[in-house]
Amino acid sequence: MTGPLGGVTCYVPRDAAARSVGADEVAEAIVEEAGRRGIELRLVRNGSRGMCFLEPLVEIVTDEGRIAYGPVQVADVVGLFDAGFIDGGRHRLGLGLTEEIPFLKGQDRRTFSRVGVIDPVSLEEYQAAGGLVGLRRALELPGEAVVAEIQTSGVRGRGGAGFPTGIKWKTVLDATSDQKFVCANADEGDSGTFADRMLMEGDPFCLIEGMTIAGVVLGATEGFVYIRSEYPDAIATMITAIELAYLHGLVGENVLGSGKRFDLAVRVGAGAYICGEETAMLESLEGRRGIVRAKPPLPAHAGLFGKPTVINNVLTFASIPGILAAGGAAYAALGVNNSRGTQVFQLGGNIARGGVVECAFGITLGRLVEEFGGGTRSGAPVRAVQVGGPLGAYLPASRFDVEMDYEAFAAIGAMVGHGGIVVFDDSVDMAHQARFAMEFCAEESCGKCTPCRVGSVRGVEVIDKIIAGVEREANFELLEDLCELMTDGSLCAMGGLTPMPVRSALSYFPEDFDR
């Protein structure tokens, strides 16, 4: 579309996943070629649309809407210009209108409504796309009313534990203290999960708005975003966005002119998976070893520096502005049973169409893997999918009928977790995957409690013996005993959930342990 200045607008994502397959080089080549042809072109580095299999995905703005091409490589750029792609011309990489691509059209983007659509570091575009409506409403309402709205929405913690967010916020609201804190857990260490990263890189103001709402409503004047060091792009984008937020008075001493103060800063992790556990994260923020704390006290009562602290996952905070803008009831209208609203599922591993699928709870695992994901990338049959990260269960295709619902998953010894789904084809050896679960726990355990610290090491040894065929029956019994002990006796989810992938591998794929 010809803009006011006569140029065309072209989008090439700045998302780390898109960059990992050449988006920077493609963007550079497009600008260069446009210059050579005397075409006035406005390049926007947006977030990713979440269709990772099409990255780098190039979009051009036309009168009909945004038209997509992908996956584009540098070698394709001259051809795209020859085909008149700046007017939406036909090309073999052409995908038509972005919004009509089946992978995207079948979704219900709420939390991710702006990701991939806007310039992530433009507060102007953020507001034009519905940003700050939630915060303005929160500033007008009494704190109790905001918390009630969140309780009405039924939203639960998206980090994995699924604790009702409204109850957590109510606890912090009711706590009296001279100081309270807001912490976003952006230590997204679970394999197969990348939605936090994509949100921070694609719509950072949404996280800032969600945290600011928590701050002004709960009376917390300071917030921290704890981001893992493995996410340098997300760290850079969040720092830039927070600087802009200060500049425009969205955060700082006078939030949107309300007279309320909320300061926000990014803190960077240092390669410890356990710091994704909320109390270990608090220890890390305080400058100590990331060792898990015993609960109680709950962080809502005595969290960061001993003060009442609301800790939520990135996606939980990011869902708050939308809930306040449209009302809790609208959010609660989506989903099933006690799993309300939408979840941002992530399809990864050996999958044909990997990426982000946001839709209401209640969609079956099979629809996600087959309809959206298109089965395996290798073309071989799906043998197992691991849902909910490295501590989640391995499920066979015969379980594809299970609906994405916290309780339905718990009922079959699995968990929805952070919504990550990793697909394996028939070449996978499930005994090795079970061994890896124990090995990972041994590697990343904080070491505070014995069931996790020692149990995981013993778990590797026992599984090795089973694989080697040494006293198989006795060792199966020992492994089951160990799993029970770790589940019941560990201080946190690290040791407590490591048996989940192990046990699911044993019960669904016993043949792999008997070769």
Partner: protein, 164 residues
């Protein structure tokens, strides 16, 4: 794409370390930010910095050391090698990540956690880089690379060596 960011770090200087510590120490929970700042500048955390940090934060040297050694990111010896981290987590395993790591160790002649004899490349394992739909994933310094085949890995190493 062939990422080849050779990083050059400053040699350790006590005066410079003291300045960096001073700049970070007044924030809440300053220890990790101090470590990040020092490592970003010198490439590692020199043992000589532990005393000044302890003094600045009014904690024991043992506590500073304890925190330093808990976190896998912090190095305790100087390096000017380019760090390549290979993901070992499940999503990458499902599409050949284990084979890629084995290839890398063989091609470089070192194990994870080691540096090549010429000091150009350091190899490390990592559990998830958040690129699970474009696995296997590798990170070269702070640049993410997706769908890495053994051939692509070799090209990355070659480009690192070419810039030295």
């Amino acid at each position: 794409m062939e990422a080849s960011q050779a990083r050059r770090y400053e040699p350790y200087s006590e005066a410079e370390a003291a300045r960096l510590i001073d700049e970070e120490k007044s924030q809440r929970g300053p220890l990790l930010p101090i470590f990040h700042r020092l490592q970003g500048h010198f490439g590692y955390i020199d043992e000589r910095a532990l005393g000044p940090i302890a003094e600045a934060l009014n904690i024991s040297r043992a506590e500073v050391y304890g925190v330093l050694t808990f976190y896998g990111d912090f190095r305790q010896s100087a390096t000017n090698a380019t760090t390549i981290r290979i993901c070992r987590a499940e999503a990458c395993q499902s599409v050949g990540g284990v084979g890629l790591l084995a290839h890398a160790e063989l091609a470089l002649g070192i194990a994870c956690g080691e540096e090549t004899g010429d000091g150009t490349v350091r190899l490390e394992q990592v559990f998830c880089l958040g690129n699970c739909a474009l696995s296997p994933a590798v990170m070269v310094e702070d640049r993410l690379v997706g769908r890495v085949t053994p051939e692509r890995f070799d090209a990355i190493v070659e480009s690192i060596r070419a810039t030295r």
